[in-house]
Symmetry: C2
Subunit: 429 residues, 2 copies
């Protein structure tokens, strides 16, 4: 067992883009990833988008010597796509499925079917207990008009709740994955501020890799520049975050990313770049949460969730109206059916074709709107639930602010950096 004072661990994270038969060179890329992991022998390997269990089993077999401990997190229709490999013993695992994750009918985006979640593994590193989290949040398909923003904010909210509530007994907390958010996006700030997690890329003074730490490159052969919009060079959406505890200090000694194509191979490991962080674990440390800043972020998140809630309620209303149209059609159908009975004896031919077509249309409308109604109701509930919790959290934070008038001047809470009206902050209602 290593001595705590001198432990350095290497953490790896990669979104593997492993959709069998759809992702390009999927099989070869897994072979390349396996070879590299086997050779590099990172302490902890966090993988996302390992959609097929067969690919996980392939890696597991390949890494049996370098990483004897592993876990694959199952969830949703396809799976969560999350996997962890470790040199250190995994004692326990737990999976939290996000309550919101896109729409089933947006099949081209496919996120709903993936059952996005956050997986947790409890590891022993020497005498230390490390809680390691791996996650993959809902993708951002259009930054200008991002209809999934409330969903991603709720996912960030649930992620911070999960990390916070499950890590009380941990000496070290490490979170890696594809957050699908730019460094200063709301969800990212919410996560970091609330949990006190720190960003390896920002913290280290020793970085090697893509310019600005980008992890989704414009030059990557597997992505189209169009996807990146105005960020032609690329964006940074993959992270390794960490924090210590009252018992353990932690700092990032160095960090690196892959830089496109792999030497000796014609293409890179994935459509994302891989991250490696070298973390040194040391002694006592306390990570103060900046309360005033947190209040602003939670308020912003709550507004975003409210917007999503409004939108979901509107969609549910539209579904209800369409259902009413379906019912009107059903009524018309009944009228048509009644024609032969009313016009007894008259030689009126029964409009058979229209009748059946109308019946099918009616059935399809009523079925679809019912399913949509149920779906939007679930969305509304989840959004309302998150909004309630955020309101409660704001109440608590405001009290903390009041409790520490010296550390946080009283007028700090009046002067919001976004220039918002203080009235926007109403935790009690």
């Amino acid at each position: 067992m290593a001595n705590v004072d001198s432990v350095t661990i290497r953490v790896f994270s990669l979104n593997c883009w492993g959709i069998r038969y759809l992702s390009k060179h999927c099989r070869q890329r897994y072979v390349m990833i396996g070879d590299m992991l086997c050779k590099e022998e990172h302490d902890i390997v966090l993988l996302q988008e390992v959609w097929s269990e067969k690919d996980y089993l392939f890696l597991k077999k390949k890494l049996v010597c370098s990483h004897p401990h592993s876990h694959y997190f199952k969830s949703g229709v396809i799976g969560s796509g999350l996997a962890i490999f470790s040199k250190h013993r995994i004692h326990d695992t737990f999976l939290y499925r996000y309550s919101l994750n896109g729409y089933p009918y947006m099949a081209n985006h496919g996120d709903w079917f993936g059952g996005k979640a956050v997986g947790m593994a409890v590891l022993s590193i020497g005498s230390l207990t490390a809680n390691v989290y791996v996650t993959h949040l809902h993708a951002e398909y259009c930054r200008e008009k991002d209809s999934y923003l409330p969903h991603r904010v709720v996912q960030s909210w649930e992620l911070q709740q999960f990390v916070r509530h499950t890590s009380a007994g941990a000496d070290v907390v490490i979170l890696g994955g594809d957050l699908n958010m730019h460094p200063e996006d709301l969800g990212n700030r919410l996560l970091r501020s609330y949990t006190g997690l720190r960003d390896s890329y920002v913290e280290t003074s020793n970085f090697h890799g893509c310019e600005n730490g980008l992890t989704l490159l414009g030059d990557n052969p597997f992505i189209s520049k169009k996807e990146l919009g105005s960020f032609e060079k690329g964006i940074r959406i993959d992270y390794i975050l960490y924090k210590g505890s009252s018992k353990t200090d932690i700092c990032c000694e160095s960090m690196s990313t892959t830089k496109g194509s792999v030497p000796g191979h014609p293409f890179p490991y994935s459509d994302h770049e891989a991250l490696t962080a070298e973390l040194r674990l040391e002694n006592v440390f306390a990570n103060p949460i900046k309360v005033a800043e947190l209040v602003d972020i939670v308020t912003e998140a709550r507004t975003e969730v409210k917007v999503g809630l409004h939108c979901a309620e509107r969609m549910r209303y539209t579904a209800t109206r369409t259902a009413a149209m379906g019912l009107a059609l059903l009524f018309l159908e009944l009228v048509i059916a009644a024609v032969p009975w009313l016009a007894l004896g008259a030689e009126q031919p029964f409009p058979r074709t229209s009748f059946y077509l109308l019946a099918v249309l009616c059935f399809v409308i009523l079925l679809t709107t019912s399913l949509l109604y149920i779906f939007y109701t679930m969305e509304v509930k989840s959004l309302q639930g998150a909004e309630d919790q955020m309101r409660l959290a704001l109440g608590g934070l405001q009290e903390k602010l009041r409790g520490f008038p010296l550390a946080q001047p009283h007028n700090a809470q009046r002067k919001s950096p976004e220039g918002e009206e203080p009235s926007a902050f109403d935790p009690e209602e």
Copy 2:
């Protein structure tokens, strides 16, 4: 703030059976419940089956003086039905939705639509931090042939995981709710053994209430004796469980249940009896988990989950076969459609009615089987996920057993109390 050495708190739990318009005397019963809670002033009130938010708001208004802090947990289509009222400040809440919860097409059982979950609230009781959990597991509709058993076992598994992982920072843990399990049912043993939670009814020497602590009485006017099967007098399925921590000891000073009809009213509060436990919080205590016993219980739970998995896979296979039949019908449909084109000129009348009927049938079959296939795939994934985690847990437990040969004799793990073959216990595969 009270001194820790002398704090006594009263915890209340009731399944309110609050289905608006369907549950008998719903409105009046809520008034009765509200009056009683207002008068009794329990420290913590845990309610289940508060299906309508309006009823929660009614209670909230009524209890604003006696219980200024409250939270309603939203989830699923209808809601989780879970609510908490507290005299002590609620700092934080978190909701975990169970990954399995019955079937959407069993609408008569309705559990699926409820979005069953476990809600957590973090309370401050004096200087102590209390994690309070409220939950409601899937109902047991037929004890002899309980097709929901794997679902309930997975729910128990997730419940113990959630409690264990989120309560590391808590001084006191309290769980109340309708577990829908008899005291010695597998899920109950799994929950108690793993978390170290203790049953108020078993622990207290001062019990007042129904014989044997029953909470679902045969005499209750709202239930039919048929539901209780061979347990004519009733069953005990509602619980208040608790545990302390390294900092706090906890014991149950007294416990009581309501006994049918409320004095001065013609009917009881609900179809369940209400529980009240008086808990005294004291000093240092360690609750040892009996490892050998736990191994047996987890092995049994894993077997149950495997049975469910087998069943879900079979159902998915049936759905696939039915879909194949739908495809065959579609082919027939195409053949019929081709008839007029092939028999050009021949005066064959086109079988219009059969054609449309077949089309509708075909559509309905393909749609239903697709939805069922997706649903069963999700069920299979969840069951597999739980099974994986249980295997991992068994590995860890076996190692613990090996590590403490004196505390737990080595042959303890060979002698299973159920008389099972030791080969049934294969944590490594």
